[in-house]
């Protein structure tokens, strides 16, 4: 999690009434980009949801990058329950042949269905870029209305700008051949987003 995150003033953050609308807006926008959007009310629900989603992928190996939310969900335990390899080690090799990568991102932009976060740790990047499926955890309370709001959040604390700040909108795509949209080029072909309230 970025150091900046803790310092956003309340007015930018999720609040009960506007939160629902933001979530719905995000879901519509992200799905239009071929991302898959899920939501869990609490950690327990999140564990069940994540286990079910990973089970459906029918993979043998997943990699993850440790972060507060990933650790709270206890992804390692889910991996062993499903009987698959779940590792955060030797990622140059493991991420290259894993079927899934799991990491956390810090904010979600409702207007355009984009996730934003500090990806300074090499682990968080390896797991989000190399495998064919990327699963992202994000806290529902960190939904922001617009791209400019997200930029404003970081702009408030430029001294602590993450070294590698990433914005993700849907899976990897190209239209370089005859302008025909094709999903899944160098990055993941599926992006699964799990909001945790």
């Amino acid at each position: 999690m970025s150091a900046v995150q803790a310092k956003i003033p309340m007015k930018d953050a999720y609040s009960e009434f506007k939160g629902e609308a933001l979530y719905e807006k995000f879901k519509t926008a992200a799905e239009a980009l071929s991302a898959e959007v899920h939501r869990a009310a609490n950690l327990e629900e999140a564990r069940q949801l994540v286990a079910k989603l990973i089970g459906e992928l029918k993979i043998e190996k997943a990699v993850y990058a440790s972060s507060p939310l990933v650790d709270e969900v206890d992804i390692k335990a889910i991996g062993s329950k499903l009987g698959i390899v779940m590792t955060d080690e030797n990622l140059r090799q493991n991420a290259a042949d894993a079927g899934l990568g799991i990491s956390q991102l810090d904010y979600a932009i409702a207007e355009i269905g984009t996730l934003v976060g500090n990806a300074t740790s090499i682990e968080s990047r390896m797991v989000s870029i190399l495998p064919p499926v990327h699963m992202v955890f994000v806290r529902t309370k960190n939904l922001l209305p617009t791209l400019l709001d997200a930029i404003a959040v970081y702009n408030k604390n430029l001294g602590e700008l993450p070294k590698y700040l990433t914005f993700v909108s849907g899976p990897s795509r190209t239209a370089d051949i005859e302008r025909v949209l094709t999903i899944g080029v160098h990055g993941p072909g599926r992006l699964i987003i799990v909001f945790i309230d």
Partner: protein, 714 residues
């Protein structure tokens, strides 16, 4: 004039159906996709913010470059300031050699294309330099140049790509796009994993934080900046902005304008080097991050009072996507890495002024790109300036020089020559069109008939005219060359309508050419002379309004004249007085002709918006409203505001492109099934009716004034 080689390339491009198919389809789909992406956004407000941020950055380029370098170094990056392309290339080679690099992976960078970096590295012993952007990889494999800044391989079909990939992987691949993409993913994945160095470009460089911002869709940018243990960023200093918050409006506009996306799949902002994993799997706490800040002509551009505006460009390529010329000929005709209208200007400073001097001929000055540009770059004006400087340097060809300087500025001689032409053309006229000209003139009539010069020009047909009843205002009529000598019937129709409106009309006989051909051909001093002659002619008549049927003439009289005299206050004041009175016919009738009574014409027509009417004057609703009042039922054609390909002297200089654009217009007009094409520009009429005549079509082409006059109640 275009050289033979350029002409050859144009013809080859026009012959390629693939190319026109791909570009044309994209050109048609693009505006709607872009529109949708901007839904709920205020484009004008966003682009004003970009203009402010980028013009400030251009003004303060050195200061921001210093600030960026200091901050990036504080963040742990190594910054190299390259004055020239050569310095940039040598530095990158040095870094590679010092680190025993044998394999390099690149993500898309126009700056690296600009300096031909791959070729240089190859020649200096680094064989494996792989492009990872799909489009770039395709063209790299077949040894071509990008034809488009954002979509480098847009000129190729899936079949051609399959062929290229088949050769690379030694397998017979089908032309199936998802499969081809998969082949690219697998092949390039290995290259990513074995690369010791990644090279990327940047979309924005933020001075106050030393941050590099990159937009990609495929994910190759993130791989390039993550997997290899050394990262080199090659960035032109025009990418600098002062503040982190300046990133906001650029990110709002760039993807929307480039590909109709609200944001690219990935945006990466790097503020200093991060950790990496070396080839053996060990974590390196801080990898090497080299930022090459490259000038290569940009400072020179900034120091130019006119061309510095081009530094506001954010390289979205929307000016190519909407350019009628680009849609016909594609990017390769431009002969360099930066293509299209903006490419012509960039080429002049980043590559060669000579080359650009030739390429500026490709622009029609239709102004379409200008309305789309998120950086608020006035591309057509910059191209005219390029033309002016080319002429200043090389001089005009003798024939043109003679006509412009000796004939055009001598009204009596000019007009008597036109009258002579009216006699000389006699043997070739059929109806009121010239279908064939002998020998070397025949190029002018290929695919397009020319209108015959009228035997009696407008100036001999009309004069001072007083309305029945009370005089509402005194109007001077400005005919323009075509209106005077080729289409006098349009002027007569206008007189009828104006009279009915209660206008007293005068025709100042000393009026002459507005001067646009001279400005366009790069002879501004001739244009200034003509401006003075016209201003004097109008000053003699004490009128309330100056009305013209030609939107280009109106634009010139109303706007260009003010520019001509920006350093001459006395003439500027005189030009301002005249300009305030100038108005196009349709706007004038819409404003002052509310009482006109029409009988319903009951005809079906389609309406062509001429470039200068719609984009330079912003008039397009008025003629439609007037026509429908006159009982003309309008069926809109596809691309009603796309250029017809005339562009003044363009149709003579670049007849092949002009005709290709015209064909598209004619097909769209015909598809409406209308019997009449209505328009408000004599130049467009010449082009469109010439094309219809040559094809033997009997759709009538009429100026709004003619239709209104027909519909007047006696």
């Amino acid at each position: 004039m275009a050289t033979a080689k350029l002409k050859q390339e144009i013809n080859a491009a026009l012959q390629k159906d693939n190319l026109k198919g791909a570009l044309g389809r994209f050109g048609e789909a693009y505006p709607a996709a872009r529109e949708k992406a901007y839904e709920g956004k205020d484009f004008e407000a966003i682009r004003e913010k970009i203009r402010i941020a980028k013009s400030y950055a251009a003004e303060n380029m050195e200061k921001l470059a210093d600030q960026f370098a200091a901050n990036a170094e504080k963040n742990g990056a190594i910054v190299f300031r390259a004055k020239t392309a050569q310095e940039a290339k040598e530095y990158i080679l040095k870094v590679a050699r010092e680190n025993n690099v044998n394999h390099i992976i690149k993500s898309k960078s126009m700056a690296s294309e600009e300096i031909h970096l791959n070729k240089f590295l190859n020649e200096n012993g680094i064989q494996d330099v792989a492009e990872s952007d799909l489009g770039e990889w395709i063209i790299q494999l077949c040894g071509q140049r990008p034809s488009h800044m954002v979509m480098p391989a847009i000129h190729m079909t899936r079949g051609e790509v399959a062929e290229v990939f088949s050769k690379e992987v030694n397998e017979n691949l089908e032309p199936d796009i998802p499969k081809l993409v998969k082949v690219a993913r697998e092949n390039l994945r290995n290259k990513f994993l074995r690369a010791e160095m990644g090279i990327s470009g940047a979309n924005i460089a933020v001075a106050e934080t030393g941050t590099i911002v990159m937009c990609t869709n495929e994910g190759n940018g993130r791989l390039t900046t993550t997997v290899p243990p050394i990262h080199v960023v090659l960035v032109g200093i025009e990418k600098l902005v002062a503040k982190f918050e300046d990133v906001g409006p650029i990110l709002e506009a760039l993807p929307r304008s480039a590909t109709g996306q609200k944001l690219t799949s990935y945006v990466t902002m790097m503020t200093g080097p991060t950790a990496a994993i070396d080839m053996d799997g060990n974590i390196i706490e801080q990898k090497q991050m080299h930022i090459v800040l490259m000038d290569n002509g940009r400072t020179e551009m900034r120091n130019d009072p006119i061309f510095k505006q081009a530094l506001q460009c954010i390289r979205c390529a929307s000016c190519l996507n909407v350019c009628p010329v680009f849609q016909q000929v594609g990017g390769h005709v431009y002969g360099d890495v930066y293509t299209g209208g903006i490419g012509t200007i960039l080429t002049a400073f980043l590559n060669s002024f000579e080359k650009a001097g030739e390429l500026q001929n490709l622009c029609l000055r239709c102004e379409r790109c200008k309305t789309f540009c998120p950086g608020k770059v006035d591309i057509p004006s910059l191209i005219v300036e390029l033309r002016r400087r080319t002429v200043k340097k090389d001089g005009l060809p003798m024939g043109q020089k003679l006509i412009l300087e000796k004939v055009l500025t001598n009204r009596k001689l000019f007009h008597s020559l036109i009258r002579t032409a009216s006699l000389a053309q006699k043997p070739f006229v059929k109806g009121n069109m010239i279908r064939h000209l002998p020998l070397f003139f025949s190029g002018l009539t290929e695919g397009r008939s020319l209108p015959a010069v009228a035997s009696t020009p407008l100036r001999d047909r009309v004069g001072h005219s007083v309305p029945r009843g009370k005089v509402k205002a005194r109007v001077a009529y400005y005919a323009g060359c075509l209106g005077d000598f080729v289409y006098p019937e349009q002027g007569e129709a206008a007189y009828k309508v104006l009279n009915k409106m209660g206008m007293e009309i005068v025709f100042p006989l000393e009026q002459t050419c507005c001067g646009i051909p001279a400005s366009q051909m790069g002879a501004p001093e001739v244009a200034v002379k003509l401006a003075k002659q016209n201003i004097e002619a109008f000053e003699k008549e004490n009128v309330d309004y100056i009305v013209s049927l030609c939107p280009t003439c109106v634009e010139v009289l109303k706007h260009h004249y003010l520019d001509h005299f920006k350093d001459d206050p006395a003439w500027r004041a005189r030009a301002e007085k005249i300009a305030a009175k100038v108005i196009d016919f349709a706007s004038f009738v819409a404003k002052h002709g509310k009482d006109l009574k029409f009988k319903g014409l009951g005809i079906n027509a389609t309406y062509h918006d001429s470039c200068h009417m719609k984009r330079a004057l912003g008039v397009w609703q008025e003629p439609r409203e007037l026509l429908s009042k006159a009982g003309v039922n309008i069926t809109e054609m596809k691309g009603c505001d796309e250029c017809c390909g005339f562009g003044g002297s363009y149709s003579i200089k670049m007849p092949e492109i002009s005709l290709a654009i015209l064909d598209k217009k004619l097909a769209n007009a015909e598809a409406t099934g209308a019997g009449v094409l209505a328009l408000d520009c004599p130049g467009c009429k010449m082009q469109i009716s010439g094309g219809l005549d040559a094809k033997g079509k009997n759709m009538a082409v009429k100026h709004t004034a003619e239709l209104l006059a027909e519909a007047l109640k006696e």
